[in-house]
């Protein structure tokens, strides 16, 4: 155990500051406008429930990376939860395969209001590389109402993080500076 702690104390800090985040240009398409009061409510604390509606898991890898010591999404008050009842935001990935349609609807139904739905990845936006297949429904907005899209196949953790912060209006993407700095 002393080895463990000496290692912890000697490792250098790796968290990427907000001003160093370099997103790709134009990462977010605005769906419907969210009530400003709702954004203020979630500005201090956001609980995300991730729903895999038949995705290739590429987006899941990137979403998992958000909680690591480089991106550390928890410092913005955002955390992932296990149950949709605890969630404020549903992040949906995948083109919504037929088998997952009912599950996705039930997840949406199980989440309490007010809620935000974000479709992450090209697949979730309009079917992506699976578009037109008999087995998928071509995008999340065909099943449940979507508020935001984050494009990319998959979008990098930087893109996802900056988009989330923009959704919460904590950051202006042109200036990449934290809003309440």
């Amino acid at each position: 155990m002393p080895n463990l702690f000496s290692k912890i104390l000697s490792t250098s800090k790796t968290v990427i500051e907000v001003k160093d985040l370099k997103p790709n240009a134009e990462v977010m398409k605005i769906g419907k406008k969210i009530n400003a009061k709702v954004k203020k409510l979630f500005g201090g604390s956001l609980a995300i429930r991730e729903v895999d509606a038949g995705s290739t898991n590429a987006c899941e890898h990137e979403l998992t990376a958000l909680s690591n010591c480089f991106y550390d999404v928890e410092r913005f008050g955002i955390h992932f939860v296990a149950s949709p009842r605890h969630a404020d935001m549903l992040i949906v990935t995948g083109p919504v395969s037929r088998n997952m349609k009912e599950a996705l609807v039930r997840t949406y139904d199980a989440t309490p209001d007010p809620k935000i739905v974000v479709a992450v990845g090209d697949d979730a936006i309009d079917g992506g590389i699976f578009k037109g297949s008999y087995a998928v429904l071509d995008g999340v907005d065909k099943v449940i109402p979507v508020d935001y899209y984050i494009a990319g196949d998959p979008p990098t953790p930087t893109d996802i993080l900056v988009s989330l912060l923009e959704i919460l209006e904590k950051i202006d993407v042109n200036k990449t500076k934290l809003a309440k700095d």
């Binding site: 149950s83 009842r85 997952m100 599950a103 039930r106 997840t107 139904d109 309490p112 209001d113």
Partner: protein, 679 residues
């Protein structure tokens, strides 16, 4: 001649009237039901009145009626201890009879109600006689009446073979116990010369020390069989479920306490305490019974069998109080001995009340669903809300949660055990330490068991389609449950006053007559004797109630604009079936696995394959999770085999050969002649 005496005999005559009128109306069901219930209710009310007169107004009485048989006399003596037990019997009998009036209606047309009423009233009358008899032979007659009446009640539903087997086991065990009791009384008679309890009490010095201990052990085995201590308990889990539910309430709540009553009488009243090992033995038996009782209860999913095992657990807790009282008495700590006895008596009363409540709730559910298997229940709170609520109160009481009465008596038992740890300074401290550990473990496991029982029976979705057709029970059932549930709360809140009455009762036994110290005269708080601890349950209740109110109001203010929406349970996207809910077996499997060495869980797997050769594709797979019958295998069957072997040895002598028998007579004659000549 005082009024308590008159009212007591009025009670006995009312029960006798119930006996007579039930059997007279044996072929008119409704009339028999009305007669037996009415006379039982009236008898119980008069019993309560007479007990209260003795306890509060100090009208104890004693009557002596000699009979034609020289050593038998019909003597009654109702002192405080007897009156206390008369009170418990009458209270439970009252509510069981009210409950029984509605409950028995389901037996119309199937079994004979007249005989039910006959045995029921005889049973209660027998119990009243058992706790008030003052002559050993009269006591034994009453004991036998009580046992036989309850035997016939156990086998009342005689179409089910399991009930007959349960009745048979009960019959053998109770008579084996009675044999030990008779032996104990005979030894007493041999030393003292009389069977009258008063004479025995006054002349106890005539009994030599070795005989005293022998009598104590024999009485412990005999009365312990009735009380249900481990390992003499094997009749309890089959007999109590077999009887109709109001009779189960009486058997579990009151009949097994008569064993405790006589143990208190013999050890503290007649013998006025004994050597240290008596108390340590009872403490150990109490600790083992409480832990094992609750562990076996966790392994059960027959609701009444589970409740029967909890009775064993609570008898263990009562014996913890009694054992500590005996130890303190021997070591000279009289006030702590009173505390221990008060704990035992208080828990006796509390257990009678909440166990009767729980059995009534279980009976209510069983009468509607026609099964005792918890795995087929579920969601009943929606269809029987009142039964569910009262069963919840009973579960809270038996799990010893404040502010109910179970907490009060378990608190006092803890204080008695803690007093042992603090005040006793030699190795007996460790007996108290282990007993406290056992009591702590028991309390936690009992709560776990009742979360399981209440949760699986009443909450979530029905596991069987038939549940959706049931409805709430009739008024007589819900009324008796309501009053008993209210009593659990009232006794908890007024535990201070109750303990002062109980210390008066405890101070009346010979051993504690000169202690003169009562463990607390504060009506609002229960205290241990020497300002070590005190707690006031009314205040706790008040604070808890106000806290809930404050929280409710605060949340209402903060979240007033928020709304609620009703939807299905979060099912992870698949359809919810009843199989997705937790089962009773699954709930307790963790605990059973942890205690696997004690419970010896067993798993039987039966697989039926599609084709015998090769055995690749299973058609059906049945898994049976259970526990092995430890006592049958390791204790009773070896004893059975030993007795059979000894009997077989006798065959060598009794070989049926007349010539051999004539030789035996000849040999014995020669020996006697030689012995007579040598004298």
């Amino acid at each position: 001649m005082n009024s308590a005496q008159n009212i007591f005999f009025l009670a006995l005559s009312l029960f006798s009237a119930g006996v007579v009128f039930s059997i007279l109306s044996y072929n008119k069901e409704r009339l028999a039901n009305i007669f037996s219930s009415t006379f039982a209710i009236l008898g119980s009310i008069t019993g309560i009145i007479s007990a209260v007169l003795v306890l509060i107004y100090n009208q104890s009485f004693s009557i002596n009626t000699p009979s034609s048989f020289p050593i038998l006399s019909y003597t009654f003596k109702v002192d405080y201890l007897s009156a206390f037990f008369v009170l418990i019997i009458s209270v439970i009998a009252l509510f069981a009879s009210i409950y029984g009036y509605g409950y028995v209606k389901q037996y119309f047309g199937k079994y004979n109600i007249g005989s039910l009423g006959f045995f029921y009233n005889l049973f209660i009358a027998g119990m009243l006689l058992v706790v008030t008899a003052n002559n050993a032979l009269f006591f034994l007659i009453a004991w036998e009446v009580m046992s036989l009446a309850s035997f016939f009640l156990v086998i009342f539903e005689k179409d089910k073979e399991k009930n007959i087997k349960a009745g048979g086991l009960y019959f053998y065990m109770t008579h084996a116990g009675t044999a030990f009791i008779i032996l104990a009384f005979l030894l007493l008679y041999r030393s003292v010369g009389s069977l009258d309890f008063d004479i025995i009490r006054n002349n106890i010095a005539l009994v030599p020390a070795f005989t005293k201990s022998l009598i104590f052990v024999l009485a412990l085995i005999g009365f312990g069989t009735k009380a249900g201590i481990i390992p003499l308990h094997i009749w309890l889990p089959s007999a109590h479920p077999a009887a109709p539910s109001h009779v189960s309430a009486l058997m579990s709540g009151v009949m097994i306490k008569t064993g405790i009553f006589m143990l208190i009488r013999i050890s503290l009243d007649f013998f006025a305490g004994g050597p240290l090992w008596w108390g340590i033995l009872i403490l150990t038996i109490g600790a083992i019974s409480s832990v094992l009782g609750v562990l076996y209860a966790l392994a059960e999913h027959d609701i009444k069998k589970l409740l029967a095992y909890h009775s064993i657990e609570n008898i263990g807790i009562i014996l913890l109080g009694l054992g500590s009282a005996l130890i303190f008495n021997t070591l000279g700590f009289q006030s702590m001995a009173t505390l221990g006895l008060v704990a035992a008596l208080f828990h006796t009363m509390n257990h009678a009340i909440f166990k009767a409540l729980l059995f009534m709730g279980a009976g209510s559910v069983i009468s509607k669903t026609h099964t005792r298997n918890i795995e087929k229940y579920g969601g009943i709170i929606r269809y029987m809300p009142l039964t569910a609520f009262f069963f919840l109160i009973g579960s809270l009481a038996i799990s010893a949660l404040p502010p109910f009465n179970g907490f009060a008596s378990e608190w006092i038992t803890f204080q008695a055990l803690f007093a042992g740890i603090r005040l006793v300074s030699d190795s007996t401290t460790w007996a108290f330490v282990l007993a406290s550990g056992a009591l702590a473990l028991t309390g936690g496991l009992a709560a776990a068991c009742f979360v399981k029982v209440f949760g699986i029976t009443f909450l979530a979705r029905p596991r069987d389609e038939k549940i959706k057709q049931i409805s709430e029970s009739s008024f007589s059932l819900t009324f008796s449950m309501a009053v008993l549930a209210a009593l659990t709360l009232v006794l908890g809140l007024f535990s201070g006053s109750v303990t002062s009455i109980l210390s008066k009762v405890a101070g009346n036994v010979t051993a504690l007559k000169n202690s003169g110290i009562s463990p607390g005269a504060d009506p609002l708080a229960i205290q241990s004797g020497d300002s070590f601890a005190s707690v006031s349950l009314p205040y706790v209740f008040l604070i808890l109630g106000s806290a809930i109110l404050i929280v409710f109001i605060w949340v209402k203010l903060v979240s007033r604009k928020q709304s609620q929406r009703r939807t299905i349970t979060w099912d992870c996207g698949t359809d919810l079936t009843p199989r997705m809910e937790i089962t009773a077996t699954g709930f307790s499997r963790s605990i059973i696995t942890i205690f696997a060495n004690i419970l010896k869980p067993s798993k039987e797997v039966e697989i039926v394959y599609h084709a015998e050769n090769p055995k690749y594709f299973p058609k059906t797979n049945v898994v049976n999770l259970g526990t092995k019958e430890v006592y049958q295998t390791y204790l009773y069957e070896p004893i059975h085999r030993l007795i059979t072997r000894i009997s077989e040895l006798a065959k060598i002598w009794q070989n049926g050969n007349v010539n051999a028998y004539i030789m035996y007579i000849f040999v014995v004659l020669i020996v006697l002649l030689i012995a007579g000549a040598l004298k």
